[in-house]
Every structure is written in structure tokens, then in C-alpha cells.
Subunit: 338 residues, 2 copies
């Protein structure tokens, strides 16, 4: 039997907690026997949901945490004050080695702060990047960093490139992933000060498959597998993806409703269109890992339902099986001894 992956799941975080969190956990363990999920949060609420299902009791355990960190709370003080919140309790389990991973659909800010403060970074990792997968024409690309640590330095971006490559290769199964740095032109001499300084460092880095600059226009076409950028730019890319997608789909739907003819057409294409648009929906691809920590922390979308939760829990198993953190450590330490 393979080694068990222990995952602490924030049962209280997200728009559909605890209902969809509990459902996602039950779905996940039914697909994967080498997984144990610790549902962290208010016991009575979690048990009320659990009673709806039949499942292997050895694979799910409730861990009490009485407090909930709300999305609007200032993250630093929330982490400091709410010691008995699901986020703090769950992250401590990772810190103490009781869990390999912590998954939450709750406050992004609290997850980012808690990851750094409670779980802590791998020795040698200067910043822990948040790295969501974004849909492309060809599949998905990893956008690294989209976190809270803006104004990164060139050495940070080089670490992001290495960490991102390891993730794409060993979790997502992309052989020799192509790495690009977000830039305003394809030429090496283009860019802001940060990109100009980082470009030659990435070029020298033998452990990655650096292919040069990637213009924002090319990201959705899937030009590279690992999209390296500073968090401010990464946040813009991630959120604009969402915004343009939402408005365009709304426009397409409005367009279909403008005449009787188009309304009939809309009924006919609806099922096919739904399936296609789903392939371009970020929520289908599980959560965004916060990488480079002593353990794994994954932030899933606030509107996550059982399917995304279940996909994310499965990712955690792959993460452990593939020994991603050991690979990150080796890659970063190699750099330090050089």
C-alpha cells in the first residue's frame, strides 16, 4: 500500500462552506484510498454534513476549530488574533507534520500570510509564490507569482522559474516545460528594469527550459508552460483573464438573444458551447498552490464547489507522491552551494 497523504481541509472557507467542502472531501477519498482528510472547523456543522454520506470513517476526521476568518478581515491581525480559526488550526497541522497539505477556499490574504508565518518557507526560498493554473488554447499554464509579495527582485523570479518548472513537470506531467518571462516585447532588450535584469539570469539557468520573453497576448495561446512574473503583474493577468472572459461570454449570450432566429440557434448550440467554455474555466483545474513552503498550502477559488475541492485534494496526493518539496529543496540548495 502506498503512503497516506494527510490533508487538512478548511471546512469553513469559501462561499459554499461547509456543504461543498464536506462533499468534496467525501468524493475525494472515494477515489483515492491513500488519502486522509482532516475537516477543520466547527464540529457540529461539519458532522451535520458528514451524516449525509456513507464513507470510510478511517479516511475522514473532524478537527475542531471554533473561529472563522472572514474574507474582509485584515489578514495579518486575523492570523494573529484568531488562534482557533480553521485557517490557523489547519496550517499548524502542516507546521507540526500532522498534515502534508492544507487546502482552503477562504480569505486569500489570510492564507498567504498564514502560509509564510505559520507554515514557513523552505530554507533558501526567499519568497513563497502563489501559482494558479490558467486555461490556454492548448491546456493550462502555470502563472507564477500571483501572490501578495509585490516588487520582487530578479533572484526571486529565478526561484519562481525553477519552482514552477518542477511543479509543471512533476504534478502536471509536462515534460521539460517551457518557461517564459512576461514582457512587453519579444526582444531581449525590451522590458522594465526588473525584466531586463532577470532575463540574463534565466538564460544562464541550466536547470530550466527558458524560451525568452512572453507577451501577454501569447499567454492564452499557451506559448509557454510556466509564465514567470512579479506578483503585481501576475495578479493583473489572473484577474483580467477572469474579467475579459466573463464580459465576453455575457456578450455572446446577449448576442444570441437579439432575434428569434438567434434564440433558436442558441438553444441548439447550448450544450456544445457549455462543454467548450468549461475547458476555458479556471475553476476546473483545482486550486492555486502556494509553493516553497514547509508543506503544501493550496488556495482554491472562493466559489469552489465539491468538484474543485475534490480535484485539489487529488493534486495534493500527486504533490506528495512526486516529492515536490524535496525536489524544490534540492534545486534551491544546489543554487546555494554553487
Amino acid at each position: 500500500m502506498s503512503e497516506i497523504t494527510n490533508i487538512a481541509l478548511d471546512a469553513m472557507g469559501g462561499d459554499y462552506a461547509p456543504v461543498e467542502m464536506v462533499k468534496g472531501a467525501v468524493d475525494a477519498i472515494q477515489k483515492e484510498s491513500a488519502m486522509k482528510v482532516f475537516l477543520v472547523g466547527q464540529e457540529d456543522k461539519i458532522n451535520e454534513e458528514l451524516e449525509k454520506y456513507q464513507y470510510n470513517k478511517e479516511q475522514i476526521e473532524v478537527v475542531p476549530a471554533s473561529e472563522v476568518i472572514e474574507t474582509a478581515e485584515p489578514p495579518v491581525s486575523a492570523i494573529r488574533k484568531k488562534k482557533d480559526s480553521s485557517i490557523v488550526v489547519g496550517m499548524k497541522m502542516v507546521k507540526e507534520g500532522k498534515a502534508d497539505a492544507f487546502v482552503s477556499a477562504g480569505s486569500s490574504g489570510a492564507i498567504l500570510v498564514g502560509g509564510q508565518v505559520i507554515v514557513g518557507r523552505i530554507k533558501g526560498v526567499d519568497r513563497a509564490p502563489l501559482a494558479p493554473l490558467v486555461p490556454t488554447e492548448k491546456g493550462v499554464s502555470l502563472l507564477i507569482d500571483c501572490g501578495a509579495n509585490v516588487d520582487a527582485r530578479p533572484a526571486h523570479l529565478v526561484q519562481f522559474a525553477k519552482i514552477g518548472s518542477i511543479y509543471m513537470e512533476h504534478v502536471m506531467g509536462v515534460k521539460n516545460p517551457k518557461v517564459g518571462i512576461v514582457n512587453i516585447g519579444a526582444e531581449e532588450e525590451k522590458g522594465n528594469a526588473l525584466v531586463k535584469e532577470t532575463f540574463p539570469l534565466l538564460k544562464e539557468e541550466k536547470s530550466i527550459n527558458f524560451t525568452g520573453s512572453v507577451e501577454a497576448r501569447e499567454i492564452p495561446h499557451g506559448q509557454v508552460d510556466v509564465v514567470v512574473c512579479e506578483a503585481f503583474a501576475g495578479n493583473i493577468i489572473l484577474k483580467l483573464y477572469e474579467g475579459v472572459g466573463a464580459v465576453l461570454i455575457k456578450k455572446v449570450k446577449e448576442g444570441m438573444m437579439t432575434s428569434l432566429r438567434s434564440k433558436i440557434g442558441a438553444l441548439l448550440i447550448k450544450p456544445a458551447l457549455k462543454a467548450t467554455l468549461k475547458s476555458f474555466d479556471a475553476s476546473e483545474y483545482g486550486g492555486a498552490p502556494l509553493l516553497g513552503l514547509n508543506g503544501l498550502v493550496v488556495k482554491t477559488h472562493g466559489s469552489s464547489k465539491a468538484k474543485e475541492v475534490s480535484n485539489t485534494l487529488a493534486q495534493c496526493v500527486t504533490f506528495k507522491k512526486q516529492k515536490i518539496n524535496e525536489k524544490i529543496k534540492a534545486s534551491i540548495q544546489k543554487e546555494e552551494t554553487n
Copy 2:
């Protein structure tokens, strides 16, 4: 009779030059009698196109320029060496007051460099921002700056906000336009160093209607009319808009072709969908002005056809009629005497 707006049009720039440039010029003068277009470029080629049309000869004049700057040429040396190129000759006409505006679908780099070097900035304007209009759910917003001047300072962004407000109010007719600064969260304390420094300056600026931060997700929803950002971020936004739009529309089309049922549906919705998607196509809104110069320089999309050229020429007339540069001067000088 109202005052004539004299416009130098680069007849050689863009994918469809000179055919669509000449057609656009003829279209534009037929709609606007107070406009004269100087077609700058290779005389024989331009005259060959002009012969296809009947038009008022007083409104179009050919200005010879033997050289053409290619898109791939390094802009600084191209501007310096190709003295008889359509871009250099056209910009010199603006510099010398022979034309009020210069319009080109040619090399973005050469237009940005030429604007600064040949036409020159208005006294007090530190940087000339490139400000395209991007489509939104509600209409259009001005994205300022998307130019080549990355790593802007806070004072530059404040000027962009003022210049952008003047443009949206007096050229696009938006009363008291809402101004937002691109940020990674809605709260004032969020952001990178540049945004944190700029935010209070924008808040103090009484001449604009500053509404705070705008997250990238909200730009396509039209949350603000003037989207202020540093050029690196602006370039990402502009190009990602294009990339996500292109891939999503491709996906929609593929989705429609997956079954017989959906193919029939596609035929029925095609005309309605085409009209709607057009409303979300940046090329419908004319060119991107390079603002803050001693005259107007407008960059139109490389794939511009007659319609975009004609729309852009009409914008130049509004720009002159509304005395935009006088308004920019007054706004910047007021700042300097404060």
C-alpha cells in the same frame, strides 16, 4: 466655415497600406468638409490608389516620402537614419505646424520614439503616454499608459490621470470621467511601491474624479473611464485583452462545430453574434493617441482598414475642435504654478 484640421496620414504604414490608408482618407473627407489629409509616402503608389476615387481635390494632397520604416527595425536608429520615411516626414509636418496631427498604422516603436524626438512634448509634460481605448461592457475606457516608457514615477501617473480625463471628457464626451488606478486590491493600503505612493497624490488632485483602485477584473466591466497605470502593466492589459478575446472566440466557434445540432445553431446565430462581438473589438474605436505632445500623434492598429483609418481621422478633428492640447497645457501649467 469652421477651421480646417490638417492631418498627415502615413500612407505606407500598416498591413494594408497604401490601399486601405487612401480609402480611409477619401471616406473621411467625404464625411467632414473641415478636414485636409496629407497622404505621406511613395507618390506613385499613392496616386495609383487615389485614381480609383472621385473626391474634392482640395481636401487631399500627396506629400512625397521615399522611404518606409519596417516594423522589425530598431526604432531609434530607424528614426535617425530614414529621414525621408513617411513617419519622419509626417511628424516633421506636425512639428513645423503644417499639420495638426499625424496618423500611422506603422511601427509602434518608431511612432513612440518619433513622437518624443521629432514632435516633442508639451512644456511641463514629463512623459507622453500612449492611450488606447479598450472595449468594456458599458462602452469604452481609456487605458493610459501603454507606451514604451516603463518604470514611471508617481508624478507621471498623476499627469496621465489629468491628461486622460481631459481626453475622455472632451473627445469621447464622458462627463466627469471616473479615474481609477490599476491595483491588486480595492483597499488603499494594497499595491506595489509605485501605486502606494501615487494613490494619495491622485486623491488630493482636485481636477480629476478619482474613485480609487481598480482591479484588473473590473476593467472589462467598465468600472472606471480612465484606467491609470504604468506602461508595463498597461501593455500587459492591452495585449491580454486581445489574447483572451481571440482564444475565447476561437473556443466558441470550435464549440459550435462539435455536432450537427450545434452546426445548425451556429448558422442561425451567426449574424447576431458577429454584431455583438464587433462591439467588443478594439479596432472599432479608432487609434490610440500619443498624448502630451506639441500636436497629436495617433497610432492605429497594424491591421487597420479604411474604417478604422477614417474613424481615427475624425477623432483628430474633434481633438483640434475641443482644443485638447490647450486644455492639457492649462492643466499642467496650473500644476507647475501651484
